[in-house]
């Protein structure tokens, strides 16, 4: 994997840095920090605009609000990941390089996954930090949703970790679809619009459970993890629904990333044949 100008890891780190340094990451996180501070420090804001879950602000933020901000950040950063290369001719340039675009493509996909994990972690940490700064305890040892009769019960600490894992999986699933569409399109607007469309369709299927299995296996459930702790429409237990949802989205994500990666040779051949310089 050693390349002349550096290693594969260097390439991946460079892509990751590009994603992290993107101004969209900063803008979305800044807006989220502002929103979180308003929630934690202003009672009137909380009362007017917020629907509090389980009487726990941290649970509320990581279930109802943070995933939406993270979705926007991931969408805006991953949409141009391949499409913008085509627009400015970088794709052809990569074709002529020693390692071609396969390494670059792989590095971009890995960077997207790491970026999703890092930005989700950052979102959780920021929320926890603001929570502690406002002297709102995280209540790690108490039982999550104590007053509700849930099928799956756990302590708040474990529930927060569960939420982190589910949100990461949901965002990686979105990223995989957007990356695939980005690799097939030369206009940035297409992956961006497709990402929004996917979210919209999943939201509609979640709000109107016309097809029971599509309500249980739904992106919105991953992005609102508390909804997975109780009630399944299709399966006979919430645990089965949770496992099915996780397995389905892991498989879909892997399949979409593989498709995005394997799109390379075809595009390469097409470009080589159609290029006037060859």
């Amino acid at each position: 994997m050693k390349a002349k100008g550096g290693s594969y890891q260097n390439l991946m780190m460079a892509e990751l840095k590009t994603l992290l340094n993107n101004h969209w990451t900063l803008i979305v996180l800044s807006v989220y920090v502002f929103f979180t501070c308003s929630v934690y420090f202003s009672e009137s804001f909380r009362q007017t605009w917020l629907q509090v879950l389980d009487g726990n602000l941290f649970t509320t933020m990581i279930n109802l609000y943070l995933p939406t901000f993270l979705f926007i950040a991931v969408l805006l950063n991953t949409a141009p990941i391949f499409a913008s290369d085509k627009k400015n001719g970088m794709e052809e340039l990569a074709d002529t390089c020693f390692y071609g675009k396969n390494f670059r493509k792989k590095a971009k996909i890995e960077a997207t996954i790491f970026y999703t994990i890092l930005i989700t972690a950052a979102g959780f940490l920021v929320t926890a930090a603001v929570s502690l700064a406002s002297r709102t305890p995280l209540d790690l040892s108490s039982k999550a949703f104590e007053t509700v009769n849930l099928d799956i019960s756990m302590s708040n600490g474990v529930f927060y970790l569960f939420c982190f894992a589910m949100v990461v999986l949901g965002l990686i699933a979105v990223a995989s679809a957007v990356v695939l569409i980005s690799s097939r399109s030369d206009d940035v607007i297409v992956p961006l619009a497709s990402g929004i469309l996917i979210y919209g369709i999943e939201l509609a299927l979640y709000l109107k459970p016309l097809v029971k299995i599509l309500w249980d296996i739904n992106l919105l459930k991953l992005l609102r993890p508390y909804t997975m702790l109780s009630v399944s429409l299709y399966f006979d237990s919430a645990i089965k629904a949770l496992v099915a949802n996780v397995v389905a989205f892991v498989l879909v994500s892997v399949a979409l990333f593989l498709l995005a990666f394997t799109a390379a040779p075809e595009a390469k051949a097409k470009h080589t044949l159609s290029s006037p310089s060859t």
Binding site: V188, L192, S194, L197
Partner: protein, 392 residues
């Protein structure tokens, strides 16, 4: 004109717009057709429409009213049977022994008929009580307005038409779909020119950019109008297929969601207003998107900011449903482009806002705000697009 048609062709030739629009349309149709075989869709209202007049007569019969009120608005069909027209029972008898998806059709229809009669009696009693309350309340501009509206309402009818569902077309989903496709098509009208470096070259042409500005605007508005017509027609066709025609025109106060609202409109009139609002809203959204597109250098930014502009209004508006007074908090939602495209909240609930001694319908505020947004957006687009670029 040829310039406008060229610009229009440029917009409609974007394949991805039509692919995504088709996906949206298919999904909308799928969601909608899924409810087509529900009991409430197939039987509830449809089977009782032949005895619409008889049910209405029953609800306005003093003997029936007295009986329903005496029993606390909780009566059965068998209790009402001796007091109402035998034609109602005969119509229901046709379905005797018929079972649909586990429902005993005749039994369900008897319950439905009883509910329609008792709810109409209850609604009339509620409105009369509200009128009496208003007469005893202090003489404020709002109370005066409400009294005027409630006393001039058309006679309430049984809710047996399909107008509830027809009006719901534009409640939230369709405006969102239309807005999505409009933004998708229009967001790259100017940014495409910037990224292809055509913007600077245009300064060297005979007509410059000014003529192009109007052509682009007209072409974009035509595209928005076309999207509105396509989606509204699709929704109307689907509704016609699932629910059929709305049976007859009915006052808005006969519909469940609006009966307590100070609304004196008729359902058909309101639906036509919704269609006009959808078109006007789409055109305002086009102007805003063009303005953002002329300012941005990237499709991504243009699409995203335009989407945020519309989505904020939609989110805000959806969280405030069910009130009929516009306050300082709700004013941004009520005056939003989404509100104009939906009109369900602003016009359906007959919202008003109070300035001093005057009660003004919020729809006027919505229209004025949107007209101002349209003009400002056009002006800014003109400024941004026609500014000289000296980057040689």
């Amino acid at each position: 004109m040829s310039l406008t048609s060229a610009e229009f062709k440029k917009i409609v030739s974007k394949k991805y717009v039509w692919v995504l629009a088709l996906l949206l349309a298919l999904f909308y149709a799928y969601m909608f057709l899924n409810i087509g075989d529900n009991f409430s869709v197939v039987y509830s209202k449809r089977a009782l429409q032949p005895v619409f007049q008889e049910i209405m007569d029953a609800a306005y019969d003093p003997q029936v009213q007295e009986y329903v009120i005496k029993n606390g608005f909780n009566v059965t069909f068998d209790e009402l049977k001796p007091l109402i027209s035998p034609k109602i029972a005969q119509t229901i008898e046709q379905y005797q022994g018929k079972i649909y998806k586990g429902y005993d059709v005749a039994k369900e229809l008897k319950d439905e008929a009883a509910v329609r009669i008792e709810s109409l009696v209850e609604r009339n009693v509620t409105i009369n009580e509200m009128i009496q309350e208003l007469k005893n309340k202090p003489d404020t501009p709002l109370n005066r307005y409400l009294l005027q509206q409630y006393t001039h309402m058309p006679k309430m009818e049984p809710n047996l038409t399909r107008w509830d569902d027809w009006i719901d077309i534009n409640n939230s989903m369709l405006p969102l779909l239309i807005a999505f496709v409009v933004i998708l098509g229009v967001a790259s009208v100017y940014t495409g020119e910037y990224t292809s470096k055509m913007h600077g070259i245009l300064l060297t042409t005979k007509n410059g950019r000014s003529k192009l500005f109007w052509s682009k605007l007209l072409a974009s508005c035509l595209f928005a109008a076309m999207v509105v017509i396509i989606f509204q027609s699709l929704a109307a066709v689907l509704h016609m297929h699932v629910y059929g025609f709305p049976f007859k025109n009915t006052p808005m106060n006969s519909l469940t969601s609006f009966y307590k609202r100070p609304n004196t409109m008729w359902a058909l009139e309101f639906y036509l207003c919704q269609l006009a609002g959808s078109l006007l809203g789409a055109i305002v959204l086009t102007a805003v998107t063009l303005c953002i597109s002329s300012l941005c250098r990237s499709n991504l930014v243009s699409f995203f900011i335009s989407g945020i502009y519309f989505a904020l209004g939609a989110l805000f508006s959806q969280n405030l449903e069910g009130q009929y007074i516009t306050s300082k908090v709700t004013i941004f939602a009520d005056a939003s482009t989404f509100s104009l495209m939906s009109l369900t909240d602003v016009l359906g609930n007959a919202k008003v806002f109070i300035i001093g001694n005057h009660v003004i319908p919020t729809i006027i505020l919505t229209l004025i705000t949107q007209a101002v947004i349209f003009v400002v957006a056009l002006f800014l687009t003109h400024v941004f697009y026609n500014r000289k670029e000296i980057t040689a």
